[in-house]
Amino acid sequence: MVPLSWYLIFSAALFSIGLFGVLSRRNAVAILLGVELMLNSVNVNLAAFWRYGNVTDLAGQVFAIIVFAVAAAEVSVGLALVISVYRKRKTVIADDIDMLKF
């Protein structure tokens, strides 16, 4: 098998790319894509630790499934919010949605 660290580095890299996307993309939907990427990197991490740890303990797999579910729910809610904001503000650029400033 490949060493565990390859998977972890891979997961970290994916997480960083996702984080970069969240912080720098203009479009709100693209930010949500970044969030998805971070969640998926977490799943890779979880699966790696499960495979290279105790394989009889299903906790790792279960946690990964839960993360999937949560990601799905969160994306749907997020997109619903973005659509709602678009209808009001006619824009999806995150920088323009600054109603909560002072």
């Binding site: 984080l19 995150a94 949605i97 109603m99 400033k101 002072f102």
Partner: protein
């Protein structure tokens, strides 16, 4: 009821009357005088019972009625006060009770009870007439005194003071009674307070007697500091008196006893109007006549002599003090008699006569004639009260005439406006005559003769200069008394007002009659044993009874014809000459005795004004008021006041406003505001920026934690 309890109760009814009248019955004249006269009657009954019981006791002086209670707690014992009735007290109670009762009854009539209210009563002025319709035409009648109840309240308080003084067994309560009477004297002389002359006279009386009272208080304090007691029975013991007589006081060669006696005697000089503190008594005639009778003839001035008599065992220890006492007494007797010759106001003559007679008593005391002094005190109270009440009756009669004629410029008290009142006011005339004869010492049938003769006899035996002085004074007394009687009652009425005078009511004439009985009869209890013909028929009760007060019973004098002849000559001579000189004198211009310095009382008032009053007033104004009070004390206050204010203002301006208000208060507010202004820039509302901050901070804290805490 035991005698002691009764004695405790004697002073009580008049003071109760005072409080009742002042608090409740002021508006009801009849109720007020009933309460007052009832109280005087109760005290009279008590005094008479005590007197009768006292007379029945053998050697009362050795075991008098006494009772005392603890009053002031001292360090390890008590100061006791109480009552004491020895022979001196008993005879004093007798005359005080009688005269007080008579004067209370007289006051009802004097203040015109039962008459209508005046037409226009000015507050604080005597009443002057009410117009009534009678049988179709109007005439003015005397009106009732508007301050009627107030008068009875005051004389009630006064009677309380006198009874307290008489029955007390120690100097302190005696002094209390003394001062109460001083206060009532002030209130009663200034009874008609709207008259400036009355107000001034009241202040003068109080101030002058105060001078005497201060010295008396010094004497009392001195006595207490030396002996530790103020109770008479304890002071007049052999050992105490011996101690006092032998310790020198350090002043002018007086022994302690002499010094104390002198200081106490000065109190008597003030209260009994002896020279030089006599100036208040003539002015005190501003008060209503019952006041003059009671306070200034029968009781208050007698209290001064009573006090001196009471302290006789102390006074007699020092010959210097006794000489001073005798001198002042004799001098005053002559001095006042000379002034009385030139007075035209009926009451002034009697005022100076009182001063003179008190001088007699004090001279008697000074030469050691204890019993004679007491005897004269008693008889004088009776006949002087009689004379004053009689003069009040005369004045009332004259005022009736004044109201009748309507001429208010006529002074109803000026003897030269009177005359012929013998027929208009017979009862007043006869009683006044009896009183005047008693004063002059008319032989045998008047009380004044016996008491005055006793003093002259003692003076002849012990002290010739005093004898001569008193004899001359007796002659002058008889002379001015007859002058007074002649001008007032005999001859023809000199004015229309005298023409219309009429006799006064029974409430006024009855006391006159009763007092004249005493003025005649009281002398017969003191007939000396060796008197030609009459001596020995009636025992000399006064000598036996009153003499028992002293530790050593005084000896009766051997009889000597010289003083008896002298007193007969001066009395009858003075009376006769007075009648002869004055029966044809009709006005002040014809009176040869209207000499300036006699009429003006030797200008003593003016001398006192220049020597004492003006400097004291100047001192009070310039030094005490301007310099000490306004300058010094107010100056200190002005220092404190503005100073404190300045401190306060500077604290406000230099600390409160800049530091507390601006720095802390406004400062914190501004700081918060500006920090808000500056920091709110962070809140852009852009979520990516928030996330960026969160990430950076997370990494920073994580680094700190990893490297510093967990390493």
């Amino acid at each position: 009821m035991t005698t002691e309890t009764l004695i405790w109760l004697i002073p009580l009814p008049p003071v109760l009357a005072f409080f009742l009248i002042v608090l409740f019955t002021n508006r009801n004249k009849a109720l007020s005088h009933t309460i007052a006269v009832g109280a005087a009657l109760l005290s009279w009954i008590g005094s008479m019972v005590v007197f009768v019981r006292a007379v029945g006791v053998e050697h009362l002086g050795e075991h008098p009625f006494e009772s005392s209670v603890n009053w002031l707690p001292l360090a390890d014992s008590w100061f006791r006060i109480g009552i004491l009735v020895d022979p001196l007290t008993a005879v004093t109670l007798f005359f005080v009770a009688w005269t007080v009762l008579m004067i209370f009854i007289y006051s009802i009539g004097y203040h015109n009870f039962g008459q209508p209210e005046g037409d226009h009563n000015h507050k604080g002025l005597p009443p002057h007439g009410a117009t009534i319709e009678e049988h179709g035409h109007k005439h003015v009648v005397p009106s009732v005194e508007p301050m009627y109840s107030r008068f009875f309240a005051f004389i009630g308080l006064f009677a309380f003071g006198m009874f307290t003084l008489v029955v007390s067994d120690n100097l302190l309560t005696m002094f209390v009674g003394w001062e109460i009477m001083g206060l009532c004297s002030y209130l009663l002389i200034g009874f008609w307070y709207a008259k400036p002359s009355a107000r001034d006279a009241a202040v003068k009386a109080f101030m002058t007697t105060r001078v005497g009272d201060v010295f008396m208080l010094l004497g009392i304090v001195y006595l207490y500091s030396v002996t530790g007691t103020l109770s008479f029975r304890e002071i007049f013991t052999e050992t105490t008196l011996h101690t006092l007589a032998t310790i020198p006081s350090g002043v002018l060669g007086f022994s302690t006893a002499g010094m104390i006696g002198l200081l106490l005697f000065i109190g008597t000089v003030g209260k009994s109007a002896q020279f030089p503190l006599h100036v208040w008594l003539p002015d005190a005639m501003e008060g209503p006549t019952p006041v003059s009778a009671m306070i200034h003839a029968a009781t208050m001035v007698s209290a001064g002599v009573y006090a001196a008599i009471r302290m006789f065992p102390l006074l007699s220890l020092d010959s210097q003090t006794m000489s001073i006492v005798a001198f002042i007494g004799a001098f005053t007797a002559l001095f006042a008699a000379t002034i009385a010759l030139a007075q035209n106001d009926i009451k002034r003559v009697l005022a100076f006569s009182t001063i003179s007679q008190l001088g007699y008593m004090i001279a008697a005391l000074g030469i050691g004639a204890y019993v004679a002094a007491v005897f004269h005190l008693i008889t004088h109270a009776f006949f002087k009260a009689l004379l004053f009440l009689g003069s009040g009756s005369v004045i009332h009669g004259m005022e009736h005439g004044v109201l009748h004629t309507g001429n208010h410029k006529v002074d109803p008290q000026d003897m030269f406006n009177m005359g012929g009142l013998k027929n208009k006011m017979p009862i007043t005339f006869w009683t006044f005559l009896i009183g005047g004869f008693a004063l002059s010492g008319f032989p045998l049938i008047t009380a004044g003769f016996w008491s005055k003769d006793e003093i002259l006899a003692d003076a002849f035996a012990h002290n010739l200069p005093v004898f001569i002085t008193l004899a001359v004074a007796a002659f002058l007394t008889a002379f001015y008394t007859m002058r007074q009687i002649t001008l007032t009652f005999l001859g023809e009425p000199r004015t229309a007002e005298a023409e219309h005078a009429q006799e006064t009511k029974w409430t006024m004439t009855t006391p006159l009659i009763i007092l004249s009985v005493f003025a005649i009869g009281y002398g017969w209890v003191g007939i000396p044993e060796h008197f030609p013909l009459l001596g020995g028929l009636i025992p000399n009760w006064i000598h036996e009874f009153v003499g028992g007060t002293l530790a050593e019973h005084p000896e009766a004098l051997d009889f000597n014809i010289v003083p008896l002849l002298t007193s007969l000559v001066v009395a009858l001579g003075g009376l006769g000459l007075g009648y002869l000189f004055y029966r044809n004198v009709n006005s002040a211009a014809e009176d040869k005795l209207q000499i300036g310095f006699l009429k003006n009382k030797y200008y003593i008032d003016e001398i006192y004004d220049v020597l004492l009053i003006k400097p004291v007033t100047w001192f009070a104004d310039k030094v005490v008021y301007q310099i000490m009070d306004k300058g010094f004390i107010d100056g200190i206050l002005h220092l404190f006041g503005p100073g404190t204010q300045r401190i306060g203002t500077s604290i406000r301006n230099y600390f409160d406003l800049p530091v507390i208000n601006r720095f802390f208060g406004d400062g914190s507010a501004n700081a918060t505001y500006w920090s808000g202004v500056k920091l709110r820039v962070l809140q852009t509302g852009r979520i990516q920026q928030y996330l960026m901050f969160a990430l950076i901070l997370f990494l920073a804290i994580g680094a700190v934690l990893y490297f510093f805490v967990l390493a």
